[in-house]
Amino acid sequence: MSIIELKHLKKYYGNNRGVEDVSLKLNKGDIYGFIGPNGAGKSTTIRTIMGLINKTSGNIYFNGEELDYNDENTKKKIGYLPSEINLYGDMTVKELFDYHESFYNEDFDKRKKELVKLLKIDINKKIEDLSLGNLKKVGIVLALMHEPQVLILDEPTSGLDPIMQNIFHELLLKEKEKGTTILYSSHVLSEVSNICDRVGFIKDGKIIKEDSIENIRKENYTYLKIISKDINKIKKDLKLKIYKESNNEIVFINNMDFNTLINKLSKYNIEHLLIEEIPLEDLFMNYYK
């Protein structure tokens, strides 16, 4: 049984699209990369799951049952880190952590101390005096403190330095080992490629591709750079997906198998040929063209 499942989730703000059609499934221990550019509908999807905004249609299931955002016990099982963190500025970090705990009627002292130590947080500082990065770290503790079954992270590393990003990713991998299910939204594929099992690409409010990181890498898309006087002919005959071009030179994305490709190219006068693997980031950009 999946832990979180979205079925044809749709959200419109009047006539404006928030999310058109999002379906996804997260099983226990999954880390799901929810990838898309700004305005694609990532935060809208997440805020709908959190019950902060109302869905227009579709279903959200949690542990097989329709998610009731007004159910306190369900919410106790979810940890949420919003992309922009706004907390009570007048409180110190320690006061905020205590306030947070008071909603759960439980003592998370041990876990809280571990996280504070790991993320190097000064708990005596006032929230309003924290830098963006430190605020994010406080947000991470708030999301993880109660050891939730599901973690919903919206652009969690923005504002964190690379060292802290690594610490955070290691933390998530440990959570995964414990069986925590994680929905990780980001606009940077390379950021999630090392920790996610699967990724879903969202564009204009729709999931346009969903696969495991392994399969995406296996698709073996390559860049081919050709310099040739016959370049216009090649372009016309092979119907290529051009990535870059200048005078006698083109770079295109190849998805043909190599035997077919070499056969086809052998008819032309090629001056220079370079084949290289497409970096994940460019592959990601390719989906959004």
């Binding site: 902060l52 905004i53 109302n54 007004n70 306190e72 919410k75």
Partner: protein, 263 residues
């Protein structure tokens, strides 16, 4: 959550209460000196200039301002009704909406607490503060008036609790209006404007019997201080209407807020 709500709303409570306390303290301290026979004579002359309707509008036709209590029943009480009206309105307009304005609602909304419980906590704190303001002010004025001369205790007590009948409905109406907004930017204007308009309606309705009907459009009619001063009793209809308005708007707030898009 209750503890925090009391803490964050304490500051504005103290400020609004202080305005009234300082004003009344000042009056109690200087009143014996300004009310001399001579000044009273010139005041009487001045009063003759005003038509009866105007004096009626400020309860001045029923009482004289030659004692501190006389002043309290007329001008003084007008300030109490206005300031408690402002405080209750602004509190109602802000207490829920502030979370959205400061965007802290995204955090609060992710916590394991029902939206209804958030509203209940905030309403509870507000009612305690509105009632505390009436109570503290009542005690302060009781002491101040006791030191300034004799006065009708029953009349004073009944008069002192009338701000509750305008404070609670004003709070509830503004709380409900705030569920239609996302920013606190416009709500202060609405809250203050509402108090001014209601107060103006109640004053105007006293001026002429032709426009008496507009009193039915003012929350301030529910305070009905003229009746309290002349008959030393509170009309139970006013209490019922006041509570009814409060309850209707509070229930409507629960219904609206539970469906509201918080971001």
């Amino acid at each position: 959550m209750l503890k925090r709500e009391f803490k964050v709303n304490l500051k504005s409570f103290v400020i609004w209460l202080s305005i009234l306390i300082v004003m009344f303290l000042f009056v109690y301290l200087i009143y014996p000196y300004i009310i001399t026979d001579e000044t009273m004579k010139s005041m009487d002359e001045l009063m003759k200039v005003f038509p009866e309707e105007v004096l009626k509008a400020f309860n001045m036709d029923m009482t004289s301002i030659e004692t501190a209590y006389g002043w309290f029943k007329t001008e003084g009480f007008m300030f109490i009704l206005l300031i408690i009206g402002f405080y209750s309105s602004i509190l109602g307009g802000n207490i829920l909406l502030k979370e959205e304005n400061d965007k802290t609602i995204e955090y609060l909304g992710s916590l394991p607490i029902k939206r209804s419980k958030i509203i209940t906590n905030k309403i509870l704190v507000s009612i305690v503060y509105i009632l505390s303001m009436v109570l503290i002010l009542g005690i302060f004025n009781y002491i101040g008036l006791s030191l300034s001369g004799s006065f009708d205790h029953k009349q004073f007590i009944l008069l002192s609790i009338t701000p509750i009948f305008i404070g609670l409905p004003l709070f509830a109406i503004n709380l409900f209006i705030s569920t239609f907004l996302h920013k606190t930017k416009g709500i202060v204007g609405i809250s203050l404007g509402m108090v001014f308009i209601f107060y103006l309606f109640s004053v105007l309705s006293e001026l002429s019997s032709n426009v008496e009907f507009i009193k039915y459009f003012s929350i301030y009619t529910l305070a009905d201080t003229r009746n309290v001063i002349s008959n030393i009793s509170i009309n139970s209809i006013n209490i019922i209407i006041s509570l009814l308005i409060t309850i209707v708007f509070i229930i409507s707030t629960y219904i609206r807020y539970n469906k509201k898009e918080l971001i």
